[in-house]
């Protein structure tokens, strides 16, 4: 359909057509086709004006600046050449701008440059004025700051360098809230002096005085108690500031993929879809993910509830990796709550064999049950014993993990209360409990196991009393030796520390610090049990002496032990039960037999027997 062309219509075509009239030929932004006949760009009206001005200026300057320029070239011909290209980018680096370079000279040099766009340069020059002003301002500010700093240093030096604060000054300071700037400076200064004491010290002042002031200042600055600060300072004489500052910030949040239910490469994308920004943790872990930020609560996603991952600090992977449980083994986790390490062990065992998770605290046992069920661990036995009583219950495990209760000096960033709540008694009490638990752990382990016979001891404390000392004690008391942890990073344990001289093999243990590894402070030691015999158990004389010793120790720390271990009612029952049994042997003497009952739980069967005999002896007396 449509109109037919009239064949008789001879009219010529009227033009290029309707569309072409509307549509102009294409133009391209950025290219200009309009050119004058000579091929030069047309100048706009304003550009022409500016050109005129510039020419005028040039003439006047050429007259005035001729002489000066000649001088400058003579004086430093090379340097001015060097400056030429610099000037173009001058605005970037303010410091280079030497103040003696006058504005006139600058312009000249710029104008001599051939082939630069004149119009642009004009604008740049205008900018320069503003920039110069701002540079001057910045410089002034910097000077002010420097002066203020210098003044502060002067103040402090006058106070501190040669006169450590007197008693009055300290009193005055104690009443005022601590001034962090002054404290920081004083700390830095004292550390500077202590670094090279002989040459930098103020005559007549002892190292002790400097040390005391340093400890006081550090305590005030970071709110620690003096005992703990002294301990830390002994431990980190050089890195103390790094350590303390690392404790002020939390460690990165990490999660562990539960390999029983999913894989890391599957879990990652799912979490990212939920708005949780994760990335694989570190080279040494194949299951860890670091969480950078999250829009949803990490502990309430459907994946968490389905047991695909566990919220767990990076450091707590380490003891399990050191333990390296194999499939179809019997493994004991002595202090399991809340079940993070236990579930990792189960995952490594692929749900085969047997995992015995024990915790002394009944309430915390519930968390273990919940977590192990959520993570799909089916090979578990969860009990609520005092760890020291376990060797009597069952004692042929292939591997034992003891993550001992500790003072928590490695996880100050998690729990600030540690800073002020721990004193010497607490530490020694912890240490004593740890020794008992470690002996119990070793007794639980079966040295004749084909694949195992390993005990891993770990704490989240950095103190030597709770780590190397405990291991050294166990090395003396049981047939165990240290073996490499299988962790290729971390720092070696101490062999010599202050008055302590430990077994040389203690360098096989590993320490982890917040400031150097960005993990919680942690200690890991792996022991291999080579004989089930308890050394010295044969000679009665030694035993009786030892029991007397332990009794004495317990006399001092018995109350604390109960509090520390969080003994449940059940354990108390046990204690009283065993105590009652004891009373048969020692008529009356309730208190003493109570201690004996306590001891009985962790000392071996044979020892108990001897202890009872000894009781008899007491009676005869």
């Amino acid at each position: 359909m449509g109109r037919k062309r009239d064949p008789l219509d001879e009219r010529p075509k009227s033009g290029p057509g309707r569309k072409t009239k509307k549509q102009k030929p294409p133009t391209f932004a950025g290219t200009k086709f309009e050119e004058t006949e000579d091929g030069k760009k047309k100048l706009s009206h304003r550009q022409k004006d500016r050109l005129k001005k510039r020419l005028l200026k040039k003439e006047t300057k050429q007259q005035a600046g001729q002489k000066r320029k000649a001088k400058a070239v003579k004086e430093d011909g090379q340097s001015s050449k060097n400056k030429k290209p610099k000037l173009l980018f001058d605005s970037d680096d303010g410091e280079d701008d030497s103040p003696d370079l006058s504005s006139a000279e600058e312009e000249e040099v710029a104008e001599e440059e051939p082939g630069t766009d004149e119009a642009e340069e004009e604008e740049e020059e205008e900018d320069m004025e503003i920039e110069k002003a701002s540079k001057a301002l910045i410089k002034e500010q910097e000077e002010n700051e420097n002066m203020a700093k210098a003044e502060l240093m002067l103040n402090i030096q006058s106070q501190e360098k040669f006169v450590l604060p007197s008693g009055q000054e300290i009193e005055k300071e104690a009443n005022l809230p601590p001034d962090l700037a002054i404290l920081d400076n004083r700390i830095a200064h004292i550390r500077h002096v202590l670094a090279d004491f002989n040459s930098r010290r103020e005559p007549g002042r002892s190292r002790q005085e400097y040390n005391n002031q340093l400890i006081k200042d550090l305590c005030a600055r970071f709110t620690y108690n003096e005992y703990l600060m002294t301990k830390l300072l002994d431990l980190f004489p050089v890195e103390i500031m790094d350590f303390l500052e690392a404790n002020e910030y939390p460690r990165p949040v990490t999660i562990r993929t539960n390999t029983l239910k999913t894989r890391r490469r599957d879990l990652g994308p799912v979490l990212i879809d939920r708005g949780i920004n994760v990335e694989p943790m570190a080279r040494w872990s194949s299951v860890g993910l670091t969480v950078f930020d999250t829009k949803v609560p990490l502990g309430a996603t459907p994946e968490y509830l389905a047991g695909h991952y566990m919220l767990q600090g990076g450091a707590s992977f380490l003891p399990v990796m050191a333990l390296a449980p194999q499939e179809k083994e019997r493994v004991l986790d002595m202090c399991a709550a809340p079940g993070g390490k236990s579930s990792y062990i189960a995952a490594l065992m692929k749900n085969t064999g047997l995992l015995w998770s024990n915790d002394a605290n009944r309430e915390r046992c519930k968390a273990v049950v919940s977590n192990l069920h959520r993570l799909g661990v089916i090979n578990s036995v969860i009990t609520n014993y005092d760890g020291r009583a376990l060797p009597k219950v069952f004692h042929s495990f292939d591997r034992v993990l003891l993550d001992a209760p500790c003072s928590g000096t490695g996880v100050i960033s998690k729990d600030e209360a540690v800073k002020i709540s721990k004193d010497e008694k607490d530490i020694l009490r912890c240490s004593h409990l740890q020794k008992e638990l470690l002996l119990a752990a070793i007794d639980c382990c079966n040295a004749n196991s084909k694949t195992g016979g390993f005990v891993v001891y770990s704490t989240c404390s950095v103190l030597v009393e709770e780590n190397e000392w405990v291991i050294d004690f166990a090395l003396k008391k049981r047939n165990v030796k240290l073996v490499p942890c299988g962790l290729d990073f971390g720092k070696e344990g101490f062999v010599n520390f202050q008055q302590h001289r430990f077994h040389p093999s203690l360098k096989l243990t590993r320490r982890f610090y917040p400031h150097s590894h960005n993990l919680d402070g942690f200690f890991v030691a792996k022991l291999k049990k080579f004989s089930n015999k308890i050394p010295g158990a044969e000679s009665k004389e030694e035993k009786t002496k030892e029991t007397e010793e332990t009794e004495k120790q317990e006399n001092e720390s018995i109350k604390g032990d109960n509090a520390e271990a969080g003994d449940s009612k059940v354990d108390e029952k046990q204690v009283t039960q065993s105590a009652n049994r004891q009373t048969k042997f020692s008529n009356g003497q309730q208190k003493k037999s109570d201690f004996n009952g306590q001891r009985k739980k962790f000392v071996g069967q044979k020892k108990k027997f001897i202890g009872q005999k000894k009781k008899g002896k007491f009676h005869k007396k």
């Binding site: 389905a306 046992c365 519930k366 919940s370 069920h373 959520r374 969860i382 014993y385 059940v570």
Partner: protein, 180 residues
């Protein structure tokens, strides 16, 4: 810890069969070892032979849990399945319900499932049949009882309850204390 009595076994298996039907026998006759049910403090645990052997050396009052807990007997002698049994129910489930992602969170907070949140449902599910609840990614979320049969589900209004809530994985957090 003791084996279940005949009566207890009957109640327990009755309950279990509502969810996994005759697949119960797969739980008992396993290729990879001998597994058994044991009663400990009114709770039914499912464990392997080795676990039973070693676990029984622990004193009764100190044993908190062994193997997987399936649920507990109430004082009146009925059996309640716990969420901890989900790992065994989900793979053998006869009847399933899939939730839309919008209703997922509601169910995890312990609410019943409305018609509006229902994504899919197994054909020929009858009324009061035990069903396992999944989200659309086939992640098991819990279980419940069908309030309406599949047919009745088709033509009811969006706000009617189609599945009664019994247990959901949110209970791991909400009811940590009562799980054991």
């Amino acid at each position: 810890m003791r084996p279940l009595t005949q009566e207890e076994t009957n109640t327990f298996f009755d309950k279990l069969s509502k969810y996994i039907g005759e697949n119960i026998k797969l739980l008992i006759d396993r290729q990879d070892g001998t597994y058994c049910f044991r009663l400990h403090k009114d709770r039914v645990y499912y464990m392997s032979e080795e676990q039973l052997k070693i676990g029984s050396s622990a004193a009764g009052e100190c044993l908190v849990s062994i193997g997987s807990c399936f649920g507990k007997f109430t004082k009146s002698g009925k059996f309640h399945l716990h969420i901890t049994a989900l790992d065994y129910l989900a793979p053998y489930a006869k009847h399933k319900v899939w939730l839309k992602s919008s209703a997922e969170q509601q169910f995890l907070y312990g609410h019943h499932i409305m018609k509006s949140g229902l994504g899919r449902i197994t054909e020929s599910t009858e009324q009061y049949q035990g069903v396992i609840v999944y989200n659309m990614n086939d992640l098991p979320l819990g279980f419940g009882v069908a309030a309406k049969s599949t047919l009745a589900c088709r033509n009811c209004d969006p706000m009617t309850i189609v599945v009664f809530h019994q247990a959901d994985t949110g209970q791991y957090i909400r009811e940590e204390d009562t799980l054991t």
